[in-house]
Subunit: 115 residues, 4 copies
């Protein structure tokens, strides 16, 4: 089993063991996802450009909080996708192919604002 | 290379080939993530409880739009984590262990509202 | 001066007195808005349908937290609009007229999912 | 009646006339709010610092889209507050007093990152 699938199955077990999945429905899980994205935003909101670059260094005091909030976003995203029985990796692989057709690599200088 | 790592590297190549990464910084990528979470919310917002359950069926007209928006959330989450050089799977695995210590499996009836 | 304008001017004074406006730019203020919307989501995410209805009662333990988070959303929305010099009430009045033209009141049974 | 109260009552009438309020509950309205905040984020996400400053000028091509999305955020925020019978202006006025006590104006150089 690859790491992502193993993680997804651990997340599923975690919620079931605590019967938290009793409260799970698509809208509630999306609100939980929104809550975690909000916490990512709170870590970043007042950072200066220098502090944003410094996030890559282990010495940044914002790095560990950001790491935990990004983890929470992924965890709820996996829970939401599992709940509606959508394979997240399949979905992202398909979407990337679609994006590649929609936005071919330009020969002329590319337009970053088209993303 | 596992599927997730391969996907992450394809996402990285995709942005570089189009020079979109020129515009990437943590705040902008977080806003892009917020935009995609907003599109997930728009797919779900007016669904009835029945329509929410029906999302699991291939016949739901909301399933493919939801699949594409969940994919976009994962893609931008991966781009943001890569930009700040945080390993998303590592981060989620650590967070899950932390959550397990913080919320031990209850012996008595569990409390779903503690999640 | 009407109440909304007075509130907006108090919010402006509040940020200036603390020199918080030094850090204000459109992206950062939007992230702050996202953070507060995330806190609204966290108040609501695991509420049952009964608890959601009960939010209207003074006895709901979720009512005061929701009230404070909705206030924070309005405060950052006002700060963001002020920062880019957009009159929020004007904008909402215009948008409502636009919406009314786009979605005329139906003669036949209306379609709530069109909103 | 002040402008804000009048706007709130027009928004209420608008939804009732179309029977859209039949689908309104706190979670769904929050998801709608999230969708609109996501659209604000999409307007701003790839703007350069210069383009962000230029948002104040009538000649910015991003100004009118931003104006409409900020309006939509306010409209759904008003609908959500009305649905749970919370007076949004009262709530914001109280929160501002609370914030003022929590963050007194500093005598020494203030700390913008405390906001």
């Amino acid at each position: 089993m690859d790491r992502f699938t193993k993680l997804a199955s651990q997340i599923d077990e975690f919620a079931r063991a605590r019967r938290w999945d009793d409260l799970h429905d698509p809208k509630s899980l999306t609100l939980a996802l929104v809550g975690e994205v909000g916490e990512v935003a709170e870590v970043l909101q007042w950072l200066t450009p220098e502090e944003q670059i410094h996030l890559r260094d282990a010495s940044s005091i914002h790095r560990q909080p950001l790491r935990e909030e990004l983890a929470d976003v992924l965890i709820y995203l996996i829970e939401l996708a599992a709940h509606v029985e959508i394979d997240l990796l399949d979905a992202a692989e398909s979407k990337l192919l679609l994006n590649a057709r929609k936005h071919p690599v330009p020969v002329a200088p590319p337009d970053p604002s088209a993303q």
